[in-house]
Amino acid sequence: MENSEEHKIVSFKTYLIILVSLICFTLLSVFVTKIDLGNISIIVALSIAAIKSLLVFSVFMHLYYDKKMYSIMVAGVILLMTLVLIITFLDYGF
């Protein structure tokens, strides 16, 4: 099979910007959960984790630069996991 696809070279600068923002988000989540928000704090912490993983997926793992197919597959898998989790919780939370 011929391999004619071009591979984009992502600059070090991009990676460093992402790294710094990932670290900032980490510190933010530690800080937010230090203040007592009750049940909301776990939601905030998990939302921040979701944003962080989105950054890792799209930049570090090149989903942003790659063929759309990969993003669709990742989205599908995450959707599947979420649905399974929700449906399991039908037995507990509702």
Binding site: M1, L80, V84, I87, L90, D91, F94
Partner: protein, 525 residues
């Protein structure tokens, strides 16, 4: 078209000799046959275990074994039949042999990984079966390993769990290999919607293998951790939740039913058009229903737990979703029937199997709907009715499709024709035995006979006699089939390139195929 002059894959001399030319071969066709021989051997073991159970049930009270041995026998029968036979089954045998050929490729994408999958299969099987020969009792949990019994019992559950875990790896790697193969190695001109239906069903199956198997993997590991490390994930005494185990187990094991049945549907979708001399009716509908089954099949697992004490919301949701997933299966049945309608049907052995597949699969599917209805489920749960239902689906579905497939592709695999008269005889004996074996169990279940007991009240005696006799007849049919195929592979008449007039790519190449299938990669118009 005539057979090629190049050496075929069976004659090809590689680096290794004798048995090593097989167990170290990365040729997808040889690996397919390795699976065929290993799965058939395990199938004979599983069938003998099944026969022992039927022998025990031929009369009330103890007939040939104690209750404890009966528990061990049905556990081993389940583990062997599910994890060693029907789950790898059709994809590992026919998928390996024919997927690359059907899409016009020389091999799968990762030939070495493919060989590794087979080795993992053998290692997993050895570990699982070793539980029989170690000190202590054989596992007695049933193939479901339900908590908390699976970590309370003193029997050798550990090797069975670890074996199933390794087998899961084998299954995942096969699925992974097939998906990449179909994405990257279709012949020029073969768009997604020109791909034959058997590869399409393998595609749906492969995604389930990839995304459902890890869930059972981690669940089995957690049970191992319960036994070894005393962590109480599912142990109520340590704060765990045994019903959660059932959730996780069925999150895999319901989709696993589709791992088994989708490729079976694919085989039928190849056989029926060939012998009806017609193009398949509603190709797109079959493709889409395949993918829908694969997707919706993920969300119906709770129908195995209607009596486990789930919330009202779950009961409703799972019952609803279960009825929903029946629709795409029914679509396929209509497509096959419409293909037969006004076709010039040629009744040869593969077609007998395919048509009887439709029959047993419908009975299996409709009895599944009966069980999917909550109120009736409470009455039928854990009775012989359930056993009959899933044997009609799993054994009827996968088994009949497998025999349809082996009689369809046999001339291509070995380059020999089989004796049609013995093949047809084997089919009719098997079919009759099958119905006699499982139909009485529907009645027994409705009458209230529970599953997994070695004993029953005298009222159930007559139906059990019928069922046990059915088992003997079915095994007789099986023996006829196997001996016939075995002898024909050695001494059969030489097969032509296309003995049935099939339209797919495997019928354009030499029988048996040459080493890399095609002398020249075909272009699809």
């Amino acid at each position: 078209m005539s057979n090629s002059n190049l050496p075929n894959y069976l004659e090809y001399k590689g680096k290794y000799k004798g048995i090593f030319a097989w167990i170290f071969s990365t040729d997808h066709k040889k690996i397919g046959l390795l699976y065929l021989y290993s799965i058939m051997s395990f199938f004979i073991v599983g069938a003998i275990l099944g026969l022992l159970m039927k022998l025990e049930l031929i009369a009330p009270g103890k007939t040939i074994m104690e209750a404890k041995s009966y528990n061990a026998v049905f556990t081993m029968h389940g583990i062997t039949m599910i994890f060693l036979i029907v789950v790898p089954g059709i994809p590992a045998i026919f998928g390996n042999f024919f997927l690359p050929i059907l899409i016009g490729a020389k091999d799968v994408f990762y030939p070495k990984l493919n060989l590794l999958s087979w080795w993992l299969y053998i290692i997993g099987a050895a570990i699982a079966l070793s539980s029989q020969f170690m000190n202590g009792a054989s596992p007695d949990t049933g193939w479901t390993f339900y908590a908390p019994y699976s970590f309370r019992t003193q029997s050798n559950v550990l090797p069975a769990l670890i074996g199933a875990f390794v087998l899961g790896f084998s299954s995942i790697l096969t699925g992974l290999n097939f998906i990449v193969t179909m994405h990257r190695m279709r012949a020029p001109g073969m768009g997604w919607f020109k791909m034959p239906l058997f590869p399409w069903t393998l595609y749906g199956t492969a995604w389930i293998q990839l995304l459902a198997t890890p869930v059972i993997g981690i669940t089995l590991l957690m049970v191992v951790a319960e036994r070894v490390l005393n962590i109480g994930f599912f142990d109520p005494a340590l704060g765990g939740d045994p019903v959660l185990y059932q959730h996780l187990f069925w999150i895999y094991s319901h989709p696993a039913v589709y791992i088994m049945i989708l490729p079976a549907m694919g085989v039928i979708s190849e056989v029926i058009p060939t012998f009806a001399k017609k193009e398949i009716f509603g190709y797109n509908a079959i493709v889409i229903s395949t993918l829908l089954i694969a997707f919706v099949g993920y969300f119906v697992w709770g129908h195995h737990m209607f009596t486990a004490g789930m919330s009202e919301t779950s009961l409703f949701a799972f019952s609803f979703l279960t009825f929903l997933v029946a629709i795409p299966s029914a679509i396929k049945i209509f497509n096959w029937l419409a293909t037969l309608y006004k076709g010039s049907i040629v009744l040869k052995t593969p077609m007998y199997w395919a048509v009887s597949f439709l029959f047993v699969f419908m009975i299996g599917g409709l009895s599944g709907l009966v069980l999917g209805a909550m109120a009736i489920n409470v009455h039928l749960h854990d009775t012989a009715f359930v056993v009959s239902h899933f044997h009609f689906i799993v054994f009827g579905g996968v088994g009949f499709a497998f025999f349809a497939g082996i009689h369809y592709w046999f001339p291509k695999i070995y380059g020999k024709m089989y004796d049609a008269w013995w093949a047809d005889t084997g089919w009719i004996v098997f079919f009759f035995g099958f119905l006699l074996l499982y139909t009485p169990m529907f009645y027994l279940g409705i009458a209230g006979m529970p599953r997994r007991y070695y004993d029953y009240v005298p009222e159930f005696h007559f139906a059990n006699i019928l069922s046990s006799f059915g088992a003997f007849i079915m095994i007789a049919g099986l023996v006829i089939i196997i001996i016939n195929l075995f002898r024909s592979a050695k001494n059969g008449e030489k097969a032509e390139v296309s003995p049935w007039g099939g339209q797919t790519l495997e019928w354009t190449i030499s029988s048996p195929p040459i080493l890399e299938n095609f002398e020249e990669i075909p272009e699809i118009k």
